[in-house]
């Protein structure tokens, strides 16, 4: 049984209300930070806790905070990234829906640390009912004196607002999010300048994921020293994992970083194995953008070590035999699934979501989608497989934002590990159109 830091009280009836949340220890970190710590102390504590950003990239939160420019007389902003659109990821919604005050508490402490007096939660437009839950909770926090002017008599003022998007994956990228929050199309900006220098309305800005900001609460409550006792040496604390695909029990789980992948997939406390007693074929452990792992690299690394749910273990082997923890979107494929079909599906996703600013991404994602579509439908040839690798190379590193890479990597990984399946689609065109490779190969190969 792992310790839970974020979801500990999730099942307490009424935990979405201020009073119940407060009775269960809520808002202690605000009292502690505002009354006994300087903003710099808070940044230092988050640095010491070695918190890695939970939105996908895993950039150290404390370090990011320390880059924030602080010119005299210029406002600074903290933005919470609640755009959550990476396929496989649905943890932030769960947290905000069930325990909204945890995010609000984290945002108050983080805004204090950064000197932001006006902070926003940017939430994907489809989560409109979650936005309403948040606004209700924010109104309660104002009424109780945890938001507004002179919070708890500390002299610190904070206004917290929620703003919806309109349906665009790209707005999860931090500069696109800023553009969107300014009321524009979500086109990512060229960096530098980085948001830490020039972000929202040209002012220094920090963008952090929902879970990252929520995690600031236990770090401040317990102190970095206690926090780092959980997890592994390089992956501290806990992480929300959203499990989906062909598992017996999908859902959002808080794990202590460092439990084994095998335990997470098969353990009673977590996914309870593969649905319908099938075998596992592949795993995408961190959202659709991270490399897929074939069955033999899921519970063990290429070096034969146990694969753990941690940043370093999931990445062990690099792109050749590893993947990434990413956003924690844990997608499991059973033996009957077709990798070509799924690779095409993801390619279609990225082609659909490319903002269209850079030609390598706009055109490249479109081509990949088309080539994969014809392979999946038995109309491809062997050269198409090389063509995909070539398009890939032309996208990677040649775009304004990382969406291009995010689109290219999964295709490269799928071909690396499942090349024979791609080739089968070429050599068995009639079977390829009939259905899933996994189901059909039993009959035809």
């Amino acid at each position: 049984m792992g310790r839970k830091l974020l979801l500990e009280h999730i099942d307490v009836p009424g935990i979405e209300t201020f009073d119940v949340y407060r009775k269960n220890g809520g808002y202690r970190s605000v009292e502690k930070a505002l009354k006994t710590m300087s903003p710099e102390d808070v940044v230092e504590e988050v640095k010491k806790a070695n918190l890695k950003g939970r939105g996908g990239a895993g950039f150290p939160t404390g370090l990011k905070w320390s880059f924030l420019a602080k010119p005299e007389g210029v406002p600074r902003y903290l933005l919470c990234n609640a755009d959550e659109s990476e396929p496989g990821t649905f943890k932030d919604r769960y947290l905000m829906e069930k325990i909204p005050h945890l995010l609000i508490e984290g945002m108050i402490v983080s805004s204090y640390a950064l000197g932001s007096n006006l902070s926003y939660i940017y939430i994907r437009g489809e989560y409109m009912w979650v936005l309403e839950i948040l606004e209700k909770a924010i109104a309660e926090a104002y009424a109780k004196g945890f938001l507004g002017k002179n919070i708890l008599g500390s002299g610190f003022d904070l206004d917290l607002r929620v703003a919806p998007g309109g349906g665009a994956y790209i707005c999860g990228e931090e500069t696109a999010l800023i553009e969107s929050l300014e009321g524009k199309r979500g086109n990512p900006r060229i960096k530098p300048p980085f948001p830490a220098v020039k972000g929202l309305w040209g002012c220094p800005t920090v963008v952090n994921n929902v879970e990252s900001l929520a995690t600031v609460v236990p770090i401040i409550n317990d102190g970095a020293e206690e926090y780092t006792k959980l997890g592994t040496d390089a992956s501290n604390g806990t992480k929300l994992i959203s499990a989906c695909g062909n598992v017996t029990r999908g859902g959002v789980y808080e794990i202590e970083l460092g439990i084994s992948v095998e335990e997470f997939i098969y353990g009673d406390e977590w996914c309870r194995g593969i649905a319908n007693n099938k075998k596992i074929k592949a795993l995408v452990p961190g959202g659709s953008s991270v490399p897929i792992l074939p069955a033999h690299l899921i519970t063990k690394t290429a070096a034969g070590e146990n694969r753990l749910m941690s940043y370093e273990s999931l990445a062990d082997g690099g792109f050749a035999s590893g993947s990434m923890l990413g956003s924690g979107g844990f997608i499991v494929f059973d033996e009957d699934q077709c990798i070509v079909r799924n690779t095409w599906n993801f390619a279609r996703f990225y082609a659909h979501e490319s903002c269209g600013q850079c030609s390598p991404c706009r055109e490249g994602t479109g081509w990949m989608e088309k080539v994969l579509h014809r392979l999946e439908n038995g109309k491809g040839n062997m050269r198409d497989i090389e063509l995909l690798a070539d398009i890939n190379k032309k996208i990677e590193g040649n775009t304004i934002c990382p969406l291009g890479d995010a689109a290219a990597w999964p295709v490269a990984a799928a071909i690396r590990h499942f090349r024979e399946e791609f080739e089968w689609h070429v050599t068995h065109p009639e079977d390829a159109v009939k259905g899933n490779y996994g189901l059909l190969k039993g009959i035809t190969v």
Binding site: F90, R124, Y127, G166, G183, A243, G245, G250, S288, I331
Partner: protein, 176 residues
């Protein structure tokens, strides 16, 4: 029943809605009211029967004191905004990987057959528009669809039937 659509389909906003819109604008600092555009588009789209006509978008530009093009370019970028008339209810079925793994294709096909409509289309009686969506953040509870503000998860043909029935009976909030 046929939906009446004219280009001049600018919704008439009640005093309450106008106040709500003012509230949204006031969430941003002086001079930054353009930031309110997305949320206002959501509000007026709901008032306008689920879609945004050029005339409705012009109205938003007037409210925010910005150029109409600034509204059009936003409305055309974000997939949630409908730029053409839609049915009384919109079903947006997630088609992305994790949902596909658990059978979203079958659900889409089932709805197409049941309602005699293709993805992107509206039923002849104007009741239902069927759309597909990319990952809606409910991957562990798929197959799923969004109708209005609500998510319908772990879909089966029976659940789809029940949802359609509930719409027909008017038990769910409609676009118009």
């Amino acid at each position: 029943m046929k939906i009446e659509v004219t280009q001049k389909s600018r919704p008439v906003l009640s005093a309450e809605k106008m106040a709500e819109i003012q509230g949204v604008i006031s969430q941003f600092p002086e001079g930054k009211s353009k930031s309110a555009v997305i949320r206002i588009l959501h509000i007026v789209e709901e008032e306008a029967g689920g879609w945004l006509s050029p005339d409705t978008m012009d109205m938003v530009a007037e409210i925010l004191n910005i150029q109409p093009i600034e509204v059009y370019e936003v409305a055309t970028f974000y997939t949630m905004f409908n730029l053409n008339p839609v049915g009384k209810y919109i079903f947006e079925v997630c088609r992305t990987g994790p949902c596909m793994l658990v059978g979203s294709d079958n659900i889409i096909e089932y709805i197409e057959n049941k309602l005699d409509v293709k993805v992107g289309g509206t039923t002849a009686d104007g009741m239902f528009t069927l759309k597909t969506a990319e990952c809606l953040g409910a991957c562990g509870y798929g197959p799923m669809l969004q109708c209005g503000k609500h998510y319908h998860e772990h879909l089966t043909p029976t659940k789809v039937d029940e949802l359609i029935e509930a719409c027909r009976k008017g038990e769910i909030k409609a676009n118009f």
